[in-house]
């Protein structure tokens, strides 16, 4: 790099302004631009996956074949999961990390800006492939997002597209995570020791390692499916000496850490929001860090609790039961610490706080049903019923999704320079929190009363709760249009936000102007 180029660059004087037009977004290496791209993509996918959920709830509104064929129903349940996990929640968290990690640790940008661009632009490519399968001969994947063989091998021509899409999404996640981990470990401002990092940064550091560890495992598993189908291998084919259950072991070795990938950043968000609106420091910071690390470690040794019914040795069932139950301990520590943070605070109830409080309460419900599911002998009843569906939607919707919404309301004024419409946002919160419980709470009852999951039609005895659940689902689904409108409205204008935005907010991002400039912390701040 010659000094002349450097000087020319300054002469043009464009150092602080983003370029205009579509190329800004295509070629950007700016962490804030990429954060916006990631989150916009996540929001789009949230509505695509949500539309699929609406189809599911419409078909289940009453017994009988009402709206869609059972085979298409199976495509909907499968794609809903893939789109929400890989398209909405993961990119949502990655977008938040992109925007927030550099400004929270006092870095000028991410460590690997071009990798950042590439990691994002792989996502639309992957999802074009994945969603296109719905229009291919034989339809999209219909064997569940877990892709268990031999069923998944009965798929039509779209099968290799599914596999390739999963590869691309995996590569994207791995590159994004390497970038975040590298940024956190190398680019912290002077004085920002590891144990001074905001909780959101900590949770993403650990999440990043989880993604790097398990995404290749998923890639390996689906590649074995591919070779089983087209190249004559028999990894999962008993007739050739393989074992279909081995796929489940490999898949869930990825899959269980994956569910913590979907929740740990949420812990970080809530740990930022609750102290702000309680006007009191987070209680037990270091125990919160250790709890996240403990949860991450345990996530690697509990995978077979998804498989209590496949027929594994008794010793295996017992080991995975004990290990799973242990997760309740660090998770409980987190909940209790949040409670202690609230204790003797001075609490106000702006929308981010409402979502964060709803997160703590509703995630706890999901955690408690998780404890029930951990018990192998009773899981033989719960497994593959709507009880499980209720459980993971409590942790993923009222857990992960609520946390992302809390984060958006919390940091939106910093991103846009405007306050969002508080009154409308409160409407969005109350509509969401009520309807989501109407949607998912009755599903506990359905599962216990004997309704299996992933069925397009059901015995008449399940009608009432399904109807209630569907009504909750429609209200919840359409309430999210309010969220979209609120974000658009806030981007376009609104009351000017102060730099501090929230009275009790702590951290480097609040020392920046609102909206945060295109380039920030080019001179590192000093953290005392």
């Amino acid at each position: 790099m010659s000094s002349t180029t450097h000087d020319t660059h300054h002469e043009h004087g464009d150092h602080h302004a983003p370029p205009y037009g579509i190329t800004r977004w295509l070629f950007t290496t700016n962490h804030k631009d990429l954060g916006v791209l990631y989150m916009s993509f996540a929001l789009l996918m949230f509505f695509v996956g949500g539309a699929m959920a609406m189809v599911i709830r419409a078909e289940l509104f009453q017994p009988g074949l009402n709206v869609v064929d059972p085979y298409f129903f199976n495509q909907m349940t499968t794609m809903h999961a893939l789109v929400m996990i890989f398209g909405a929640v993961m990119p949502g968290f990655t977008g938040l990390a992109n925007w927030l990690v550099p400004v929270q640790i006092g870095a000028p940008d991410m460590a690997l800006p071009r990798v950042n661009n590439w990691a994002f632009w792989l996502l639309p490519a992957g999802f074009v492939l994945l969603l296109a399968t719905l229009f291919m001969p034989g339809g999209g994947p219909a064997g569940g997002w877990t892709m268990y063989p031999p069923l998944v091998l009965q798929m039509g021509d779209a099968f290799p597209f599914l596999i390739f899409a999963v590869h691309i999404l995996g590569i994207s996640s791995i590159m994004g995570s390497i970038n975040i981990v590298a940024t956190i470990l190398n680019m912290r401002a002077p004085g920002m020791t590891l144990m001074k990092m905001p909780m959101f940064v900590w949770t993403w550091l650990i999440t990043g390692f989880l993604i790097i560890a398990v995404m290749p495992v998923l890639a390996g598993a689906v590649t074995m499916l591919l070779t089983d189908q087209y190249f004559g291998t028999s990894f999962f084919n008993t007739a050739g000496g393989g074992d279909p259950v081995m796929f489940q072991h490999v898949f869930w070795f990825f899959g269980h850490p994956e569910v913590y990938i979907l929740i740990l950043p949420a812990f970080g968000i809530v740990s930022a929001i609750i102290p702000t609106f309680a006007r009191k420091p987070l209680f037990g910071y270091s125990s919160m860090v250790y709890a996240v690390a403990a949860i991450a470690f345990l996530s690697f040794i509990v995978w077979a609790h998804h498989m209590f019914t496949v027929g594994m040795p008794l010793a295996g069932q017992l080991f995975f039961m004990f290990a799973t139950m242990l997760i309740a301990v660090p998770t409980g520590v987190k909940i209790f610490n949040w409670m202690a943070t609230l204790w003797r605070g001075s609490i106000t109830f702006e929308t981010p706080m409402l979502f964060a409080l709803a997160f703590v309460i509703l995630f706890t419900i999901g955690g408690l049903s998780g404890l029930m599911l951990a018990l192998a002998p009773v899981d033989l009843q719960y497994h593959d019923t709507y009880f499980v569906v209720a459980h993971f939607h409590y942790v993923l919707v009222t857990g992960a999704v609520f946390a992302i919404m809390a984060a958006v309301y919390y940091w939106l004024p910093k991103w846009t320079g405007h306050m969002y419409d508080e009154k409308l946002a409160q409407w969005h919160f109350w509509l969401s929190v009520i309807s989501v419980n109407v949607l998912f709470f009755p599903q506990h009852f359905l599962g216990l009363a004997g309704m299996p999951r992933r069925i397009p039609d059901y015995a008449v005895q399940f009608t009432e709760f399904n109807m209630i659940s569907s009504i909750g689902g429609f209200v919840f689904g359409f309430s999210q249009l309010l969220f979209l409108w609120l974000v658009i409205k806030c981007v376009r204008g609104g009351e000017k936000a102060s730099d501090q935005v929230w009275e009790g907010a702590q951290g480097l991002e609040w020392t920046l102007p609102s909206p945060a400039p295109y380039h920030s912390f080019e001179t590192p701040p000093v953290v005392k």
């Binding site: 085979y71 001969p137 031999p150 006007r279 420091p281 204790w343 309460i361 039609d457």
Partner: protein, 407 residues
């Protein structure tokens, strides 16, 4: 709809009150009710154990939940800023951290002990008195009584089958036990330790009757074990619990538990019934209740010659039961499932290829091998039917003799 829901709610309350009477007549268990909300206590020691453990843990998590929720709601009410709360600045206390790590751990230990005991009991299949082999197919079950020499297939009953179509002739609400009834239920004696051996012929299924207290996956190429000692006579219903393709929601399980005497009479009927079925072969095929290996049934005597009309009638019935779910009643197929109407394989001059597909299936697809599941006459009928139905008009017939020759 609201009024219907009310009626059903009232009916549920009434039935709960008279659950004891309900059990008397056809032996239907009282557990499956509209607005049902909880696991059954069930009719085996295992189901009782899982129910007790479930309730124990349920009360524990309710207590924990109450503690957390009351704590949060009290805090946000008591320390709300609008009431003038001033924030404290404490942020650490090692002692409470230790307390709320150790106490949950002890609670978990308390739950783990009964859970471990239950798990050990559930896996102990020693001293079983009879063995039933359960095989999952897309989308029906096969039951084989290992000692009695009885075996049969069990699939969704015809009323449910009709009601589950688009614009059905009968509404689901009008079918008794919609989607929870089968043509041939599994009949077992009470107070007998039954060992179940579970496997699958195609993809993974899961055999589940809540009132027995467990579900067990059926994995192709592997045999899983489970057991049950049913303590009360009755009809117990369940469903496939592992996604197994298009008709995963339509392969129920029905277990009829009888007193030992009744069961023995049923066994005699089945084993005797096989001979009479063979004698009367031709009059009433298709209903193979307990008819043994149906594929071998026709193997004894000379294969019969049938007219095209007979074959078409037979074929239409088989097609409706076995094929229409995927290939559709109009033969147009759907999505992944190929159309039969106009198919070059189906209408080829030589029927051998399509016969081979029907009898042996197509590996790597959802197309099953029906050779073991249907008898010669049924296969002949269905092949004749698909070669002549819709606009397929090969005009020829396939006789049972040709099927027998192809076996």
């Amino acid at each position: 709809m609201i009024s219907k829901m009310l009626v059903r709610a009232l009916a549920a309350i009434g039935l709960l009150a008279s659950a004891a009477h309900a059990a008397a007549e056809p032996g239907e268990s009282g557990w499956r009710q509209p607005w049902g909300m909880n696991l059954p206590e069930g009719v085996t020691s295992l189901s009782q154990e899982t129910y007790d453990l479930h309730m124990l843990v349920f009360y524990i998590v309710c207590a924990i939940g109450a503690f957390v929720f009351i704590g949060i709601f009290y805090s946000v009410w008591r320390f709300r800023r609008s009431a003038g709360a001033r924030p404290a600045q404490f942020h650490h206390n090692t002692m409470v951290e230790i307390i709320w790590t150790v106490i949950p751990f002890l609670i978990l230990l308390g739950i783990a002990i009964p859970a471990t005991q239950s798990m050990i009991t559930m896996r102990d299949t020693t001293d079983h008195e009879m063995t039933v082999k359960v095989t999952g197919y897309q989308w029906l079950w096969e039951y084989e009584y290992m000692d009695e020499g009885i075996s049969f297939f069990s699939r969704l009953d015809e009323d449910s089958q009709r009601a589950r179509q688009r614009n059905p002739e009968v509404a689901p609400e009008e079918v008794d036990h919609y989607l929870l009834d089968v043509d041939n239920p599994l009949v077992v004696p009470v107070d007998t330790k039954i060992r179940f051996l579970l496997t699958s012929n195609d993809v993974i299924h899961s055999w589940w009757v809540p009132e027995l207290g467990w579900k067990q996956d059926t994995v192709p190429g592997f045999v899983n074990e489970a057991w049950a000692t049913i303590e009360e006579p009755g009809v117990y219903r369940g469903q496939c619990a592992e996604l197994c393709g298009r008709d995963h929601g339509f392969m129920p399980v029905v277990v009829v538990a009888m007193e030992q005497d009744d069961y023995e009479a049923w066994v005699d009927e089945q084993t005797g019934g096989e001979e009479s079925a063979q004698a009367a072969s031709g009059d009433e095929s298709g209903s193979e209740s307990g008819g043994g290996e149906s594929g071998e049934q026709a193997g004894g005597g000379e294969p019969e010659e049938l007219s095209q009309d007979q074959l078409m009638a037979q074929g239409e019935e088989v097609f409706g039961n076995q094929c229409a779910a995927c290939h559709q009643a109009d033969g147009q197929g759907m999505g992944n499932f190929p159309a039969l109407a106009g198919s070059s394989v189906v209408t080829a001059e030589d029927p051998q290829e399509v016969l081979d597909v029907v009898m042996n299936g197509v590996s790597g697809t959802a197309m099953q091998a029906f050779g073991d599941r249907l008898d010669d006459r049924e296969i002949a009928g269905v092949v004749t039917y698909i070669r002549n139905a819709w606009d397929n008009d090969t005009g020829d017939v396939v006789q049972p003799a040709a099927v027998q020759a192809a076996r």
